[in-house]
């Protein structure tokens, strides 16, 4: 009884820090938005005029439409790759798996700019550009989520179906699809959420013609200063996101219940080998195109090639208040602080989630669904006056970036924490280890690898964060994505060139981070 109570108190203490952080840096900004939208001069005033406006309906419809189309296309593109990477083992599979994940950690602004570099002028600012960029960005989600599930299915299920007379097509219809349904629903809802709240890609590729709720929130708040309309659009978006999360959660539960019995992947044989090679080759080729185009464009000067665009990064420009390379320093500093905060909050949060605090789990995932632009806007409204006047403080940038990175930290720490075999700790205890020794000898070494991954992800996410940062970053302290955006908003080939060069730098930084945390992965022997 006494021990239970003590454990309960310890659990509550662990959960206290993440809960406080979420309340102040997530809850409060949301309340501020709610207040700005619904309260006028101290009385409740529903923003019916904004809701019924034709332009609102148009924007909401386009947001929904492009997110649905992007999701469908991403599933179609990701399933063959998931099949090839999860059902078969072949030389270089782990390298391919790592390469497929790269687009997902690329900053959205970079992805958008890469498609600007890749597509012919005619398609540059079209719906197709947006959809393709979304597919490029999100294919990793499908490969990861569906692939992990697929490789856990017993390959003899297909053998059984085959001997029962099912042709390959029928096997996919009657066995593969129903069994994958929970993973498909889960991947689809994640991709849908990312596309629904997509900002960087649409701001870069949509131009003035295509606006989603997310870009319109930015437009209303930062350009037209119609804060009430912006807040109301943010509320519509929040409701849509909450609905998606609810529906997908229910769908996954209904479709779930598939037994997972892993069987080792097989080497492809005969015709399968051709199919696997074709899928992997085509997938990698297509995924390599946009970054390659970006690098080529950043080097093109007039009719020749050179490093001129990179050289201009050290020169003053009318696009920014500072020399462009300062943005790189800012980005690295902000991302370091954001990573530190995300880990400080995320580690206790993950421990609390593992201790069966499901409510906290859902709460921690919310920032993932809440749009970054909305958060940034909420920060401006909430931290404008005492007691927390952060508006002109540089701390506001890492604080909001950490919030965006938090779900990634928690997601990479919870599974290994859960999987940590209790019996290892019990064995150590029987051998005479104290609680502290167990933590030092067992828990920490086992968690070193996931911690490196979590830190790497948090750093990469913070480096590329755009939607919230563009609101809160002061004009004299821009980050790289903000600087890219400023360059792209100005006419002239030299500005586009500088944007491309900055994108290449940012891509290099993210790749370096990925490589470092990947090395941490490799050094630990896979279990």
């Amino acid at each position: 009884m006494d021990r239970d109570r003590r454990a309960l108190a310890a659990g509550a203490a662990i959960a206290a820090l993440p809960l406080t952080y979420l309340a102040v840096f997530f809850g409060w900004p949301l309340v501020a938005i709610l207040k700005r939208s619904l309260v006028v001069d101290g009385t409740l005033d529903l923003p019916l005029d904004v809701l019924t406006r034709g332009s609102t309906r148009e924007i909401a419809w386009f947001t929904l439409w492009q997110a649905t189309a992007s999701t469908a296309l991403t599933l179609a593109a990701g399933l063959p790759l998931a099949w090839a990477l999860s059902r078969f083992r072949f030389r270089g599979r782990s390298v391919v798996e790592a390469l497929v994940l790269v687009p997902f950690v690329l900053p959205t602004v970079v992805v958008g700019t890469a498609f600007l570099a890749l597509l012919p002028d005619r398609l540059e600012r079209s719906v197709w550009a947006i959809l393709l960029a979304h597919v490029f960005f999100n294919v990793a989600v499908v490969v990861r989520v569906v692939g992990a599930f697929w490789s856990g299915l017993d390959s003899r299920l297909w053998d059984a179906a085959a001997t029962l007379g099912a042709s390959p097509l029928e096997r996919h219809r009657a066995v593969t699809l129903p069994l994958l349904a929970p993973a498909l629903a889960s991947a689809a809802s994640i991709v849908f959420l990312f596309c629904f709240t997509s900002f960087g890609v649409i701001v870069v590729l949509g131009g003035v013609r295509y606006a989603t709720l997310e870009t319109e929130i930015y437009n209303q708040a930062a350009r037209l200063f119609d804060l009430r309309t912006a807040a109301t659009l943010a509320l519509i978006q929040l409701a849509a996101v909450a609905l998606t999360v609810l529906v997908s959660g229910r769908l996954e539960r209904r479709l779930g219940g598939a037994r997972r019995t892993g069987r080792p992947a097989l080497r492809p044989s005969g015709r399968e080998r051709l199919a696997v090679a074709a899928v992997v080759g085509a997938g990698l080729g297509l995924l390599a195109l946009p970054p390659a185009a970006l690098v080529v464009r950043s080097l093109r000067v007039g009719d020749g090639y050179g490093l001129d665009h990179f050289r201009t990064l050290a020169e003053e420009t009318p696009a920014l208040l500072v020399v462009p390379w300062h943005a790189i320093v800012n980005s690295l500093l902000f991302a370091s602080w954001a990573t530190a905060i995300a880990l400080a909050v995320g580690i206790p949060a993950a421990v609390a989630v593992v201790q069966r605090r499901r409510g906290l789990d859902v709460l921690l995932m919310l920032p993932l669904g809440a749009s970054a632009v909305m958060l940034g806007y909420g920060y401006l409204l909430a931290f404008d006056d005492p007691p927390l006047d952060l508006r002109s403080s540089p701390a506001i940038v890492p604080l909001v970036q950490a919030l965006v990175a938090l779900p990634f930290v928690v997601r990479s720490l919870v599974p290994p924490l859960r999987a940590a075999d209790v019996r290892l700790r019990e064995a150590a205890a029987v051998l005479g280890a104290t609680r502290g020794q167990i933590r030092r000898e067992i828990d920490l070494p086992l968690l070193a690898r996931p911690l490196a991954v979590a830190a790497g992800l948090a750093f990469a996410v913070s480096l590329g964060e755009f939607g919230a940062t563009v609101f809160v970053a002061r004009a004299d302290r821009p980050t790289v994505p903000v600087a890219i955006f400023r360059f792209l908003s100005r006419p002239g080939a030299e500005n586009v060139g500088a944007a491309m060069a900055l994108c290449v730098v940012l891509m290099g930084l993210v790749a370096a981070v990925a490589l470092v945390s990947e090395r941490a992965l490799v050094r630990e022997r896979p279990r």
Partner: protein, 324 residues
Amino acid sequence: MKLTVDRIGVVLDRRRILDDVSFEVAPGERLALLGPSGSGKSTTLRVVAGLQRPTEGRVLLDGRDVTNEPPHRRDVGLVFQDAVLFPHRDVAGNVGFGPRVARVPRDELDRRVDEALDLVGLGAAGGRDVTTLSGGEAQRVALARALAPRPGLLLLDEPLGSLDGPLRLRLQSDLRTLFELLELTVVHVTHDVGEAFALGDRVAIMRQGRVAQVAAPEELWSRPADDWVARFLGMRNVHQDGDRATVTRPEAVRVVSGDAAKVLAADRDGPVVRLRVQLDDGGELEAVATGVDNPRPGDRVAVEVDPAGVVEVPVWRGGEQVSG
């Protein structure tokens, strides 16, 4: 349906799994593939089912070469060791899978499902979720699922392997009754000698990717192909002498009263007692005693050997010896 396996070989990852495997199964006949793990029996079954393409050789069904036919066009049923039921379908959905993909009309399909479930003694289980089934029930459903499309050839891969004790014996006798009732052509993989002898009209013994001997159980027991086969079947009275070995069936050794040998051990094995006896000339023999009053370790006895139960076989030099 008649099955002909004609000199098949399989090489996987540059490792030879099967080498020159040939056998025939007549319509209505039951063949047991018996061998230690890794001997290639399951791979042989997968080749017959069409799940593994052989590197060389042919598979014929009723004289038709099906070597390049995919599994779904072979009219062959397969039961796995641990059932492998479709988790997203209930029992009836699993059993009806074959007829459904064959586009059998609804009422006929229902009838076939009921019929197949009745055959395996699970007539009332159609609506059950497959995750609620016990090991034995799951295996019966897997059998019903394989039978529902009415295959010309039924393949069983260690069908009783995941069961134990009395459950195993009961399903074994049920299988036998069913095979006889349906006059099925069956190839049945097992590593258990008792199971192979109980369910197979003939037994093919496999070792290291090759067929060591194909014969009826009685023939195998009385005339094993070599000393390895004799030891694998469980015989202990195998005495090697140069490149020949003498195999004495334990039931041919009678223990009588006398003073030419000493009882080393007496182990009860179900209804019989296995006696290990040391002859004064140094040799050891195993005898099976069926009486109710048997000698104890240390007792002095004498042995008589029925010469009809002694056979001379070649010594197998192909690999590691299997100890009895």
